[in-house]
Amino acid sequence: MIKLQDVCKSYFLGDEEVKAVCHISLEIKNKEYVSILGSSGCGKSTLMYLIGLLERPTAGKISLEGQDVSSLSDEELSKFRNHHVGFVFQSFNLLARYSVIENILLPTKYAKENLDFNPVERAEEFLKKFGIYERRNFFPNKISGGQQQRVAIARALIMNPKVILADEPTGNLDTKTGNEILDLLENLNKEFGVTIILVTHEKDVARRTKRQIYMRDGQMVDKY
């Protein structure tokens, strides 16, 4: 379970304080499929990165599985991200110099403890499941956008995380491919029970999730 209590995040642009998000309180239960909907610049991505522990809140409290994570060290946060969070980005963010399978295996390289699974076998399982097994030794620039996003999803899943954070995962894809990716995410939620938080500005995309969180100007609002 993810719990945010009165969370704020502000940046300094020169001397001026810019509040990216403010006074956010929300709860996301395990195995939920939620979307955060809002126009660009509303702070929805910042909110996602706060939940994903890539950012620390300037005020408020975030707890994951009952543990307060607001004051963890860099090492503890990194470990949390490594084990519990998987990111999927709009622009895929694969390492260009690494092959498909190397990209998928990347998070396992940063696991500090021994893994209770065989990383290569698990990666190959995903590759087969997502229909890109033949592409496993290709470099990202040699495969299509849809395939790249599948690789990114496999990378997000490799450590068996509790939650997947997807930031506009269909933003760089055509409608058909985008729908395929959304189908895939929906399936993962059903099949593996992984919590999925989808960040988008498209109502059509948000509508596919079971719950929508609306945002405007850094605040949560009741209606979009």
Binding site: Y49, L54, E75, F87, F89, N93, L106, Y110, R155
Partner: protein, 394 residues
């Protein structure tokens, strides 16, 4: 970690090569300078060994430059003690002696049918040529039996032979005259660079007994010792033997290695200066690495963001960039070392340059040190990048 770094380099060969090049050139110049410095030292040492590095000289008077003897063959300045065959026999009993050479020395006038030339007359035994590493351009040197038989044979120094005959080697087989006797030239020596040696006529010492040297005495005795370690011992024993017969001021026992150690000291300083000069290019190479690493950090900001998102700690990123810098500079160092070795192999054909283990260890240590020193700043910068900004960086 190192494997990751190397496989990363394989993915960007040109950049890796160019970055490592700075260090390669730095290491190359340091190693080459050390090798050439050592070569110069070796070369001089060889020159000394030609004179006999393990040479112990017994001279009249109280020492180098004092009394009757100057260090080299001081012509006509023979005063003080003269040594005789009995001394040779006693000195020969010293253990670890390889050669014992009596030296009769005077100046003389040498004549052929056409020419007349002043030169030095040296009366020695057959061991002289080995002791002095004398090399012939033509003919042969005299043997032990020729020494015993007082044979009228002569070996000419190069300059003297060249002055007396059209070509130096033409002298072999010809008859020359000096001190009212006729001698057959049996060999001509290579040029040594030593003026006295090159203008000498060398004959068996026993042949001088008689008209030339009625007292049957020698100006000096040269001894060749088996190894450098035995030199002090031989010196001491020779002094003991001679003191039984002569006064302390009448002779001196000196060794060539005293001079050699002075030369060594000078060259250690010269080497130090050469290394310091070479180190500047290593430093420049290191700055090159830092420069490229900084550029790399910018270029790879997004990569850092991605790695942070999937669970890399600041430490992981720091380590990654550090290892890359160190592997890169070690790689450059290794290539420089290999190139230097190849160049030294070629140079060795005509100059005794050499690469010491010390040079290898020091350059590898320095290049990895440079990697750490110049890698740490860019690596810290990469590690401290805020993940969110890194991942949004385009």
């Amino acid at each position: 970690m190192i494997k990751t770094a190397i496989s990363d380099f394989k993915r960007s060969k040109v950049r890796t090569f160019l970055t490592a090049l700075g260090i390669t050139i730095g290491v190359l110049s340091v190693v080459m300078l050390i090798a050439l410095g050592l070569g110069l030292k070796n070369y001089l040492k060889e020159q000394f060994e030609n004179l006999g590095a393990n040479l112990v000289m017994i001279l009249p008077g109280s020492g180098f430059g004092g009394g009757g003897g100057s260090g080299s063959f001081g012509a006509g300045l023979v005063t003080g003690t003269k040594f005789d065959e009995a001394d040779i026999a006693s000195l020969r009993r010293i253990p670890n002696l390889k050669y014992t050479v009596p030296l009769y020395f005077s100046s003389t006038l040498i004549e052929t049918e056409k020419e007349k030339k002043g030169g030095y007359l040296m009366g020695v035994n057959e061991e002289h040529f080995e002791l002095m590493n004398a090399k012939l351009i033509k003919g042969e040197v005299f043997s032990k039996s020729e020494v015993q038989a007082r044979a009228k044979v002569a070996v000419l120094g190069y300059t003297l032979a060249d002055d007396l005959f059209d070509q130096a080697e033409d002298g072999v087989g010809k008859i020359i005259r000096f001190e009212n006797s006729r001698f057959k030239v049996i060999g001509v020596l290579e040029k040594t660079g030593d003026r006295e040696q090159d203008t000498s006529v060398i004959i068996p010492y026993k042949t001088t007994f008689g008209a030339i040297n009625p007292d049957k005495t020698f100006w000096a005795i040269y001894m060749g010792v088996e190894s450098e370690n035995d030199v002090p011992d031989v010196k001491k024993k020779a002094e003991e033997i001679l003191l039984k017969k002569y006064d302390k001021e009448d002779f001196s026992v000196t060794e060539q290695s005293e001079l050699l150690s002075t030369v060594n000291q000078i060259f250690n300083i010269v080497n130090g200066v050469l290394v310091a000069i070479g180190s500047i290019s290593l430093l420049v190479g290191g700055i090159g690495i830092m420069n490229i690493m900084y550029a790399t950090v910018n270029e790879r900001t997004k990569e850092v963001g991605i790695r942070r998102a999937v669970g890399a700690t600041e430490k992981d990123i720091l380590k990654q960039f550090m290892v890359e810098a160190v592997v890169l500079s070690l790689l450059g160092g290794l290539i420089g070392l290999i190139l230097a070795s190849l160049m030294v192999l070629v140079i060795r054909i005509f100059f005794p340059a050499s690469i010491s283990l010390f040079a290898v260890i020091i350059t590898l240590a320095i290049s990895s040190g440079i990697g750490i020193f110049f890698g740490v700043f860019p690596a810290r910068r990469a590690a401290k990048l805020p993940p969110i900004e890194a991942i949004r960086y385009e």
